[in-house]
């Protein structure tokens, strides 16, 4: 009880110094939390990957197409419930900065395979009916102020020319982890135009989305699909949607690692700053620690006083940082909605932030605690502040 009282009073003894340290820790924890949230988005993206969806692509590379003729052969394989296909279109709207994910897909099966894309039935049916129709996510529609019935022209970056569409449907995500910045349109319209402008690229697709009856058959179905096209001109690789995403994201792993390193560097920097503050504080109070030891208090008491103060300051700063994480994440989500479909702080991030605060407090206290606890009394008493 006495130790706790002394710790709390010591925390507010040099108010400005404590305040600056608390603010420093709070900012560091906030930055750490934001960076961890950012890396967490990659993991969150995996969460809506369904175990009953497979992706079949060209074995050579994702950028090479597959013949559309594979569609019927895949559909007839045992265990396959539904097959959709699509092509990465890569269009831009008016200006190059207006870039977003755009796909030419076979819409009926595609939407059946992606129930997490919620679209009102009348809009969905209108989209199915209109050959030049397109469907966009609510976030994307908001970004450009698109409304149903609006004509939209995309400029192809891979498939040159102006591509005209009519906005027929706007989808929302079943939950906030679903990206609402997508743009999809009819593969038939896409293919028809290619037949006229670039016939050598027609009747091909970029990938097949394959629905299977249950997760247990996914491996067998994958093997069967790939075996079916063995030794053909376009061999395939079929993998679960999650594996597909992971492989895709592996290309960005270096960025992830850098962000993680930066997040730890932020914590390391504040650890050094806090350690310096605690060392300064402990040095100033050497005579007090010596006095307490003279009276009969042991090294454990002194260690408790120093370490406790350091942890209290770090936890106070950490708590402020954690609380600030929520409005900061909300601000990022609002301001950068074009880049991040959602920017939610997860319980895991909060736990990391709390542990980082505790780590800062403990690490900052190690040296001063050791010095304070082991100082010789006679030597300590000579240092009167």
């Amino acid at each position: 009880m006495f130790i706790l009282k002394l710790i709390l009073r010591n925390v507010f003894r040099h108010r400005l110094r404590s305040l600056l340290t608390v603010v420093g820790v709070a900012i560091a924890i906030l930055a750490f939390g934001m960076l961890r949230t950012l890396t967490g988005l990659w993991e969150e993206g995996m969460k809506h990957a369904s175990p009953i969806r497979l992706v079949t692509r060209n074995a050579t590379s994702l950028i090479f197409p597959l013949p559309i003729a594979y569609l019927e052969r895949i559909r007839q394989l045992p265990g396959v419930t539904r097959v959709a296909h699509g092509v990465w279109f890569g269009g831009i709207y008016i200006d190059e900065k207006n870039f977003f994910a755009s796909y030419a897909v076979e819409p009926r099966n595609y939407l059946a395979l992606y129930p997490e894309m919620v679209v009102p039935p009348p809009q969905r049916d209108a989209f199915f009916r209109e050959r030049k129709g397109c469907m966009v996510g609510a976030s994307l529609a908001n970004r450009f102020g698109w409304k149903l019935g609006d004509p939209i022209v995309l400029r192809g970056t891979i498939y040159p020319g102006d591509w005209e569409f009519i906005l027929q449907a706007i989808y929302r995500g079943k939950d906030k982890t679903v990206d609402e910045r997508g743009f999809i349109f009819h593969w038939d319209y896409f293919n028809e135009k290619l037949r006229m402008t670039a016939p050598e690229q027609a009747d091909q697709t970029g990938f097949f989305m394959v629905g299977v009856s249950r997760p247990e058959v996914a491996a067998t179905v994958s093997e069967t699909i790939d075996r079916s096209f063995k030794n053909s001109l376009a061999e395939t690789i079929t993998e679960t949607e999650e594996t597909f995403h992971l492989n895709f994201l592996a290309m960005t792993e270096a960025i992830l690692i850098v962000i993680e390193i930066v997040s730890y560097v932020v914590i390391a920097i504040i650890m050094v700053v806090a350690a310096n503050t605690m060392a300064m504080t402990a040095r100033e109070r050497t005579a007090e620690y010596a006095t307490l030891k003279t009276i009969g208090f042991g090294p454990g008491h002194i260690a408790g006083i120093i370490c406790g103060e350091s942890i209290a300051i770090a936890l106070l700063g950490g708590a402020i940082g954690i609380v600030l994480t929520f409005p900061a994440a909300q601000m990022i989500e609002t301001a950068l909605s074009d880049y991040f479909p959602f920017f939610s702080v997860t319980p895991k991030t909060l736990i990391y932030e709390a542990l980082a605060s505790l780590g800062i407090g403990v690490a900052a206290a190690v040296l001063p605690t050791w010095r304070g606890a082991t100082i010789r009394i006679a030597e300590g008493l000579r240092r009167v502040g």
Binding site: A287, E288, I377, A378, L381
Partner: protein, 226 residues
Amino acid sequence: MTTTPPLVLIRDLSKSYRRGDQIIPVLDNLSLDIPAGEFLALMGPSGSGKSTLLNLIAGIDSADSGRLEVGGIDIRPLSERELARWRAGHIGFIFQFYNLIPVLTAFENVELPLLLTDLPRQQRRDHVELVLGLVGLADRSDHYPGQLSGGQQQRVAIARALVADPSIIVADEPTGDLDRHSAEEVLELLEKLVHDFGKTVIMVTHDPRAADKAHVVRQLEKGVLM
């Protein structure tokens, strides 16, 4: 006829400090007896070893050789932990600069030695109020050291030294940082501790007026008692 053994018995005590490769002798085969209830003043020039001797008697420093018994206990072989416990029960400290904890009130500073005992809260309170009354600061118990004068702070320090009822009070220049009037008050209190409460006071001082209050004055020069 029986002879009462001295409260502090020192025989051939030596102490030196190492500074780099140099060994600096501070106390040289010093012998001294201090009977219970004595008010002893140790005087001498700076560096003569007065404070070192005081620290050795109080168990906050260790001698290189010799014999040092306090209350019949040979304290030299005691471990750090044992010494801390021994000090808490037997020694009260008064320092030149009071050494009060600034974030604790006068009451809380005085209570410190009692926190290491098993005394319940109410008894601790009674003890603290008693000694604060004894030093004339009963009405200042809620004040922080920064709100007290130097003389008052030293009286709080005396109350702290006294509260656990130790047999020996060691005082290192207790009036060194005080004006004449406050110094007088502090010395009167120390005399009172000896006369009224039978405490043994060992005081290091440069001040001849302070030394005049002591029963015995011993001079130390270059680690040797004159």
